[in-house]
Symmetry: C2
Subunit: 481 residues, 2 copies
């Protein structure tokens, strides 16, 4: 291999560009694939048309060393091209893609724990460039490490404007041609995913959704499938991608359950990197036991069942929508910051993860939940405080540890517990700590973001004075023997 | 009828005293009944032994005019006694007993609406005389018009002391003789029920409960039945009595469902005045569809299902225990005042009724919830505010009127609505008021207890600015045409 061979860091995005036909409809007429090889391993990858006669094939190499490839195509100009590149050690901030770890939790490919603290800006990527830049500036200082965002534009309350760019060509009547894609839109989407990657934020890509006036929600099966393969071919090489088959899949009247099964299977078969796959409900859950579902992306206002949902299919629980901090008239978008923070804590001490959103009325209808922009609420800094506590906790995540006198707790047996009294205001906690062992106990005010070590140590059955106010938590850590 | 005949006001308690045998066991050996007559009506009533050779027969006459009676007994001294009395118009504060009205609500016998705003002091009547006097002083200035209280003493956390008096004789081992009753205890109970009557408070008499170390919870069937008939014979003449078969009936391991059915039927057959009958659950509900159940006495923390419970058996819903304001370590007794008030509002705007309780830690373990005493919390004055609003509302009670953009509402169609945003903080409400008609709208801060009329009138579809803070309600009243 020559010293000048192209270099790509591990879990970086390698890209090969080929020139091919522009005539006809390259999106439907041209088949392009490549086989990447690393030693004896063969990784088949789909290419995609990117307009102006350019075809691209992308790969996220997951092993350090020499990779080679050879293309196959039904067009002679694109068939049989070969190449190679050198995969190098990743940069310090690059931990690889996130996967499921310890059954109910997540970790990056290099083993670094990943605790999802997500937010939602459904169509921030469809707004003005100025607003998108503002969103990225906001995210830089926000606690979020996952962003739910849509490929397709959104037609819904507060979302009546035309998008900045359309994923498909749109005719004079405002209806899409689903047989073609708009490369300018997708180049921009690529960039936004990379922008999030730079900020350490996972892009939870929502592939379909029901809020539509252009035809994206009512494509025929062939168009749906072609679209899914196209998006996966474009984006899978970005290590921070997650796949969400849909938002509120159950509101998409034109799709059946077998359509959803097929969509999952297409993404599973097309993605060489096996990014996380979920689907988000409005009312009824999709059957998360199905083998292609990697984690549960749930919409529910009440966190009481997080343990049940975990146990029901032994997969991580991410309650991506549990209502949003805000003041709109819809009940899903008008909870106070205290309630938003409360839901994060409630999910955490049951071994799950909650998701943030914000819906404060705005003179221009710029609501974080859809458009991004700036955050107005009081929950993000408290969510940052919780995130720090969780990151300081057991690397393997918090496992449910029962309910102590009405205080649900999670942690790691005999080592670490986080108990949360929620909106109750007990003045005492009666603990029964595992013996033998002595524990240090910190009193946590989840709203004031304070951690107060209590005089200890504590062991066995012990009584702890609490401040008798809501939103109090206890952190209990085994002391070195 | 002589001018000097005894007089009893309508729904007052008439009592006839007879002297009879003291020997043997008068509680088991002597049968005593009376037939009261009012015109052609015959009302059979049980008498009871009250110690020292005295037997009593009580009746609450419900019709103005001349009543007569004749006794029947298996003892000649008590058999065939006759008498009469004159039932006169009731005093102004006497509206008669409470019954079900308009399917889901309550009214006194004279038609005056009764909206239950209950509290619980399970064994206040078992405390020192001083503490009982303090409880009555507290109740005089509290908003409550119903009190849940037990006949039997209570053995439970914070309830470890011996009662001031025992309902049955207790032997040296602390076990009861269920074949006899203690007249001193029951005379005192009579007085406490009358004391509550004087204060306008319904006495929701809890006949059985599981918290016991003396044997009251484990009597045999014959003793249970005799006890029930005894209590009903004593107390049914007091117009403010309600019957609760048990508190947390489902925790009484020695009773079966057919026992509970039998208890209901005994009370139903024995009570000549057909006072309200319910039974209070811990976990699973008793089948409130059974014909002898007059209303649903529910324990649940979550008010979301009040409408469902109503519809399920078309009887009033009283969530007598929905957790208590306090700071003990048990989750049922450590909610903040805001949450207690919130639950009252949540029940109200779903067409139901909530119940209050208070459990603040106390150096002598004197917790309102069991012992009475004084109130420490911040919810009672807010509950009084709600009570006033409800009393100013439709006389037929508040009927569910749907959910307006997440704000459940109840009222009377086209006339009156009370909507409550709960712990959401909408900055706008979009109303769709029934047409034709113009409405006045008041903004209510349920915590600050303020009512602010909004500039109106309002009609049809209209948008209302709200303060964007939790615990906001709207009162909407049709204006005179």
């Amino acid at each position: 291999m020559s010293a000048t061979a192209e270099q790509v860091e591990r879990w970086g995005a390698f890209e090969c560009v080929l020139n091919g036909p522009e005539s006809g409809n390259p999106f439907t007429d041209v088949e392009l694939n490549a086989e990447f090889r690393f030693g004896n391993r063969v990784v088949p990858v789909r290419g995609f048309y990117d307009g102006a006669g350019e075809y691209r094939i992308r790969l996220m190499p997951d092993a350090i060393g020499r990779w080679t490839y050879r293309t196959r195509s039904n067009r002679v100009e694109l068939d049989g091209a070969t190449g190679e590149f050198l995969c190098t050690a990743p940069a310090a901030a690059n931990h690889g893609p996130v996967g499921v770890a310890h059954t109910y939790h997540f970790a990056y490919a290099d083993g670094t724990p990943y605790y999802p603290i997500g937010t939602t800006c459904y169509v921030w990527n469809h707004q003005s460039d100025e607003l998108q830049a503002q969103t990225l500036r906001t995210l830089k200082h926000a606690p979020f490490n996952k962003m739910r965002m849509c490929v397709f534009p959104k037609h819904y309350i507060y979302n009546q404007r035309e998008p900045a760019r359309h994923p498909c060509p749109v005719n004079a009547e405002g209806r899409i041609d689903p047989s073609r894609f708009n490369p300018a839109y997708f180049k921009h989407l690529d960039q936004r995913v990379r922008d999030l990657m730079q900020l350490g934020i996972e892009a939870d890509i929502i592939l379909l959704h029901p809020y539509d006036r252009w035809g994206y929600a009512e494509m025929d099966a062939m168009s749906d499938d072609r679209y899914l393969r196209y998006v996966v071919a474009r984006l899978a090489a970005y290590r921070n991608v997650w796949w969400s088959m849909a938002n509120e899949y159950d509101l998409m009247k034109s799709k059946t359950m077998s359509d959803w099964d097929r969509f999952f299977k297409i993404v599973q078969e097309t993605d060489p990197h096996q990014h996380l796959r979920g689907v988000h409900n409005c009312r009824g859950f999709y059957d998360h036991n199905k083998p292609w579902v990697t984690h549960q992306s749930i919409q529910r206002a009440d966190m009481a069942q997080v343990c049940e949902w975990r146990t029901a299919c032994r997969k991580p629980v991410v309650v991506d929508e549990c209502r949003y901090e805000g003041n709109i008239q819809k009940n899903w978008g008008n909870i106070p910051a205290r309630e938003m923070v409360h839901k994060f804590w409630e999910a955490t001490v049951r071994g799950g993860y909650a998701g943030h959103g914000e819906t404060y009325l705005h003179p221009d209808d710029t609501l974080w939940w859809s458009h991004g922009g700036i955050l107005h609420g009081q929950s993000p800094e408290r969510i940052a405080f919780l995130r720090q506590l969780v990151e300081d906790g057991p690397a393997t995540g918090l496992e449910p540890a029962g309910v102590w006198q009405g205080m649900p707790a999670a942690g790691k047996a005999n080592a670490y517990y986080l108990g949360y009294a929620g909106n109750a205001q007990p003045a005492k906690a009666l603990l029964n700590l595992p013996e033998p062992g002595a524990y240090a106990v910190d009193l946590i005010d989840t709203w004031e973001m304070s951690v107060t070590p209590l005089d200890g140590p504590f062991s066995g059955k012990c009584e702890i004075d609490l401040p008798g106010k809501p939103y109090t938590a206890l952190r209990i850590r085994r002391r070195a023997d």
